[in-house]
């Protein structure tokens, strides 16, 4: 049992370790920063329904893992979508554990068919001319079962969607401050990220046109897609900065979804995805902040583009790419995180986990600039024994 003072010392050690690695210095040892989502529920004895629908239980589960594992940093709640909030607003696109899907399955995003996309193909000008107005007046009435569109008769449920949604969101966001403090004081653990960003292209694909609709648009109306991405850029930058760490120690999370080969081709990446994301990252860098590229899927085709960014402006998280190859390509310029395959942690034996981590430390982490984590967020299929083995082997081999 650590005293309060020891916890604070532990916190400062971990913060130094974590931030040094991100800024290309060599810390005392390899930091461990696992993005544990529904794994926390499994470990703490909750269902996926409980941690998705009652964020207090998600917070508790995150703290219990942080206290029991020797981790340097965690996300304050990686089961980020509080489905109590999404239900209060009436959002249609979630599959909620215990309601639409079994109680012990992680929440799902349900993308509508191309014909039922939340944004129609002829609405690009509306979005581009006034993104915020479009979201309130057109998008929200479509994605919410309760919100009525301007011009339609208002309704009690519509009014309540805004009232309950606004108050619940404030309630949730305000709960993060005490949660971050609790992680620090009770566990000596650093809160790993602050603020959220997505590429304009990904926002169009995820929440507006859908992936299939957007792919059609890339061929039928590419200029309108580009103009829409440009119109989204300042709002996405503003939102990212408004949630960023005021101390400028931990990065803003960039969640990268469908902007890579083969979802789009190299030319579309070069003409559209990257030119409407890169300036946002550069602007964030000018504010003294880093961005964590949480590169879901495979992004090896685009590593040359990322090298255009200023040194240490990003931390590059490896999901399904070969972490050894990514390190050779961009490891001199950016800190690398992740790369430990989820299938290894879910289905293989602890000895295989140890063997992989040993090689990872030897080849990728030898000069610093590496943060240990799985490739993707860890759900409840991850083996507790394997995650313990990952932690132990990184600690054993990862001392500089």
């Amino acid at each position: 049992m650590h005293s309060d003072m020891e916890k604070e010392q532990l916190y400062q050690q971990r913060l130094t370790r974590y931030t040094k690695a991100m800024r290309l210095a060599k810390p005392d040892r390899v930091p461990i920063r696992p993005f544990v989502a529904e794994f926390t529920a499994k470990y703490a004895g909750y269902t996926c329904q409980e941690v998705a629908h009652d964020y207090r239980k998600a917070f508790e589960a995150a703290c219990r893992c942080a206290a029991d594992f020797d981790w340097d940093a965690v996300v304050a709640n990686m089961v980020y979508v509080w489905t109590g909030l999404t239900e209060a607003i009436g959002l249609r696109y979630y599959g909620i554990p215990g309601l639409h899907i079994p109680a012990n399955v992680g929440f799902q995003y349900r993308e509508p068919s191309e014909e039922q996309a939340f944004m129609r193909p002829d609405e690009y000008d509306l979005l581009t001319d006034d993104p915020t107005g479009y979201l309130f007046n057109v998008w929200l009435p479509r994605v919410s079962a309760d919100v009525t569109a301007p011009g339609q008769p208002t309704a009690f449920r519509s009014n309540l969607s805004f009232l309950k949604g606004g108050m619940a969101m404030m309630n949730y966001f305000h709960a993060f401050g005490p949660q971050v403090e609790r992680l620090r004081k009770e566990c000596g653990t650093v809160s790993a990220i602050a603020g959220i960003l997505k590429a304009p292209f990904d926002i169009l694909a995820d929440k507006l046109r859908g992936y299939l609709g957007l792919i059609t648009d890339l061929f039928e109306r590419p200029k309108k897609v580009r103009r829409a991405c440009e119109a989204l850029m300042p709002h996405l930058l503003h939102t990212a900065l408004s949630g960023a760490d005021p101390q400028k120690q931990v990065p803003i999370g960039l969640w990268m979804h469908r902007g890579c080969v083969p979802f789009i081709n190299r030319q579309q990446f070069a003409d559209l995805y990257w030119p409407t994301l890169k300036p946002i990252i550069e602007e964030i860098h000018k504010h003294g902040l880093q961005t964590l590229f949480y590169a879901e899927g495979k992004w090896a085709a685009h590593l040359d583009a990322f090298l255009e960014l200023p040194e240490a402006s990003i931390v590059f998280h490896v999901d399904q790419d070969d972490v050894f190859e990514v390190h050779k390509k961009i490891g001199h310029k950016f800190c690398i995180s992740g790369g430990i395959p989820n299938y290894l942690l879910a289905f293989e034996k602890p000895a295989a986990v140890r063997q992989f981590c040993k090689r990872l430390i030897k080849e990728v982490a030898k000069d610093g600039r590496y943060i240990a984590d799985a490739g993707a967020i860890m759900q409840n299929d991850i083996s507790i024994d394997n995650l313990k083995e990952m932690t132990a082997s990184i600690r054993e081999y990862g001392v500089y």
């Binding site: 980020y80 979508v81 509080w82 909030l85 999404t86 607003i89 959002l91 509306l126 006034d130 993104p131 915020t132 107005g133 979201l135 309130f136 007046n137 998008w139 929200l140 301007p150 011009g151 949604g165 606004g166 969101m169 404030m170 959220i196 960003l197 997505k198 926002i203 929440k207 300042p234 709002h235 996405l236 930058l237 503003h238 939102t239 408004s242």
Partner: protein, 55 residues
Amino acid sequence: MQEKTEIRKPGVCIPWEEKRRELGPIQGDEQVFQTVWEEVDGLAHLYIWQLLLSF
């Protein structure tokens, strides 16, 4: 009805300039009204963009 207001900048839903025209003469300190209006208005921008990004 699609409300058409002045171009909505990041962080803004109803610009202060638009609200100011509705208020008429101000007897006290206009800056106080503007600052608080913009702070609270910014929460509405945060609401819709966080819905889009996070939820």
